[in-house]
């Protein structure tokens, strides 16, 4: 459940933005890589728990999974790497360099429209 730590950190950030904008947040988008992947359901649950009683209560948290990227050493193609099918989809080469995994990023916050 590393989602708990991520949820608490995201909550703090969203609260800061909400205070600055004087607006009520309703939705946030978070992206993650493959080695630090967040489970959307667990993240929603962890966030709801952390956000109870705050301006963020009731928000929807969406997770965008970023695939792991690799560069083929033979044909130089950059491709999405599946860990259990580790070969280049273009030349079937098995020698490749894995690119750094995507970090956890708070990408977007949507706020309620104000009248």
């Amino acid at each position: 459940m590393h989602e708990t730590v991520a949820a608490e950190s995201v909550l703090r950030s969203i609260q800061e933005h909400a205070q600055r904008l004087h607006a009520r947040p309703i939705r946030a988008v978070i992206s993650c890589g493959q080695f630090n992947a967040l489970n959307e359901e667990l993240m929603q649950f962890a966030f709801e728990t952390a956000a109870a009683g705050t301006i963020c209560e009731g928000m929807v948290i969406q997770i965008r999974q970023i695939p792991l990227r690799a560069v083929c050493s033979r044909c130089r193609k950059t491709f999405d790497l599946k860990l259990m099918e580790p070969f280049c989809p273009q030349c079937r080469g098995e020698d490749f360099e894995i690119q750094p995994d995507a970090p956890l990023i708070l990408e977007e916050i949507e706020f309620e429209d104000q009248q």
């Binding site: 459940m1 590393h2 708990t4 730590v5 991520a6 950190s9 995201v10 950030s13 933005h17 904008l21 607006a23 978070i30 493959q34 080695f35 630090n36 992947a37 860990l83 259990m84 580790p86 098995e94 970090p103 956890l104 990023i105 708070l106 990408e107 977007e108 916050i109 949507e110 706020f111 309620e112 429209d113 104000q114």
Partner: protein, 218 residues
């Protein structure tokens, strides 16, 4: 109204990890992060390793557990410095907790530091502690499907230890399948078959440690 951001969520952990990494490099310390399921034999591995190498190396251990200081006491009993972090519910160690522990064990006087992470094959792999390398341990009684089920954890390993190899003939464990899956997800990491209980295969593990300690101090 939508606000676009590009804010790193674990930036505090990333900052502390970078500081730890710089410390290990400047002090020429080899720091290894041990990741496995509960009961795979991390502490037993460390007990045996310390007993066999403590005459040649100054070894320290940072222990992570949800509750109790049992593991730190086991390590101290075999003659190494140990500091226990009780995470009180958290399923992994953070770089900041390690930073604090490094001060407490006076890490600058050590050659080799093991961080025994909380027993968990998933969460610890998401948290960089600034370590020099990751040791992922899989024990025979856990079953032969773990590398296929948790590929991300095994893909991040610098070395994989298959522990309790002395039990191979007593439980259904398809060693060939495990080696093939490990090769698929991480062809670069060496794999050693060991038993921390009987000592089988431990010399190959010590050989790997020595090689990396030497690489660390040219």
């Amino acid at each position: 109204m939508k606000v676009s951001l590009n804010q790193r969520i674990l930036s505090r952990n990333e900052k502390a990890a970078a500081e730890n990494r710089a410390f290990f490099q400047s002090q020429k310390i080899l720091c290894l992060n041990l990741i496995s399921s509960p009961g795979a034999g991390k502490t037993a591995l460390l007990e045996r390793t310390i007993q066999d190498l403590k005459g040649q190396l100054a070894i320290g251990v940072i222990e992570g557990d949800i509750e109790t200081d049992n593991d730190a006491r086991r390590i101290q009993a075999v003659g190494a410095r140990a500091f226990q972090i009780e995470t009180k519910g958290a399923c992994h160690l953070s770089a900041e907790q390690v930073q604090d522990a490094l001060r407490k064990i006076e890490a600058q006087t050590l050659d080799l530091i093991f961080i025994e992470n909380v027993g968990n094959l998933v969460c610890p792999s998401a948290f960089d502690l600034g370590e020099s390398g990751r040791v992922v341990i899989l024990s025979v009684p856990e079953g032969d499907d773990k590398p296929a089920k948790y590929p991300g954890t095994f893909a991040g390993a610098s070395v994989v230890l298959i522990n309790k190899i002395d039990l191979l003939n007593y439980v259904g464990f398809n060693l060939r399948r495990v080696l093939a899956d490990l090769h698929t997800v991480n062809p670069k990491a060496p794999v050693f078959q060991i038993s921390a209980a009987t000592g089988e295969g431990m010399d190959a593990w010590y050989g790997w440690l020595r090689q990396h300690l030497e690489k660390n101090r040219p």
